[in-house]
C-alpha cells in the first residue's frame, strides 16, 4: 500500500518536472535568439556563448559594413519574407544592423550582395545556436 502511494507520487511529480524543464528550455532558446550566445551563457557553456556572440556579431558587422540588404516585414514576395525571417534570426542584432546602415543598402555592387548573404547567414546561424541551446537545456547530448 505504502509502496503504491510512493509510485503514484513519483509519477505525478515527473511530468511536472518535465513541463518545467521544457518551459525553461524554451526560455533559454528565446534568450539565445534575442541576444546571440545568451542561451548558452545561461547554461554556463561559456565557450559556446562567446563563440556564438562573436561569430554572429562579426557577420552582422561585415554584412552591415558591406551595405547588405536588411529585409523588412513589408516584403513584396516570398523571397523577401524568407529574407526577413533569416535577418530576424539575429534577434536584437537586427536593430543594431539597421542603426549601423545609416546610408541604407547598396546591392548594385558585389559587396552589397555579399553583405546581404552575411546578414542572412548570421540570422540562420543564430537560430541554429538557439536550437542547440534548447536541445542542451532539455538534456539532450550537445
Amino acid at each position: 500500500m505504502e509502496a503504491n502511494k510512493m509510485v503514484d507520487e513519483t509519477t505525478a511529480v515527473a511530468p511536472q518536472r518535465d513541463a518545467k524543464r521544457e518551459a525553461m528550455a524554451f526560455a533559454i532558446a528565446v534568450a539565445g535568439w534575442l541576444v546571440p550566445g545568451l542561451g548558452h551563457a545561461l547554461m554556463k557553456m561559456w565557450g559556446r556563448a562567446v563563440a556564438c556572440f562573436l561569430t554572429v556579431g562579426v557577420l552582422v558587422l561585415l554584412g552591415a559594413g558591406m551595405r547588405g540588404n536588411l529585409f523588412s516585414s513589408s516584403g513584396n514576395d516570398a523571397f523577401d519574407s524568407l529574407g526577413f525571417v533569416a535577418d530576424m534570426g539575429t534577434g536584437t542584432f537586427y536593430l543594431a544592423a539597421r542603426s549601423l546602415e545609416k546610408e541604407g543598402p547598396d546591392v548594385s555592387h558585389a559587396d552589397g550582395d555579399y553583405g546581404t548573404r552575411f546578414l542572412a547567414t548570421a540570422g540562420v546561424l543564430n537560430l541554429l545556436a538557439a536550437l542547440h541551446a534548447f536541445e542542451a537545456a532539455r538534456g539532450r547530448k550537445a
Partner: protein, 64 residues
C-alpha cells in the same frame, strides 16, 4: 575600408572571412573537446575553401 562605416572586400577576402567565421561557429557548436573543435574547424575551413574555389573554377567556362 571606405569613408564612414563600410568595408570594401574582394571576392576572395569575403569568401575567406565567411569560411573562417562559419567554421569557428560550427566547430564550437558541434564539438565539445577543444582538440576536436580545432580539428573540426580546420577541416570545415578546408572544405569550405575547396568547394568555393572548385565552384569558381567550374563556372569559369561560362564566365565569358
Amino acid at each position: 575600408m571606405s569613408g564612414g562605416f563600410g568595408f570594401k572586400l574582394s571576392h576572395l577576402q569575403a569568401m575567406l572571412l565567411f569560411a573562417v567565421v562559419i567554421s569557428i561557429a560550427f566547430g564550437f557548436l558541434g564539438k565539445r573537446r577543444p582538440v576536436d573543435r580545432v580539428k573540426y574547424i580546420v577541416w570545415a575551413l578546408f572544405l569550405f575553401l575547396l568547394v568555393g574555389v572548385g565552384i569558381g573554377w567550374a563556372m569559369y567556362p561560362f564566365s565569358r
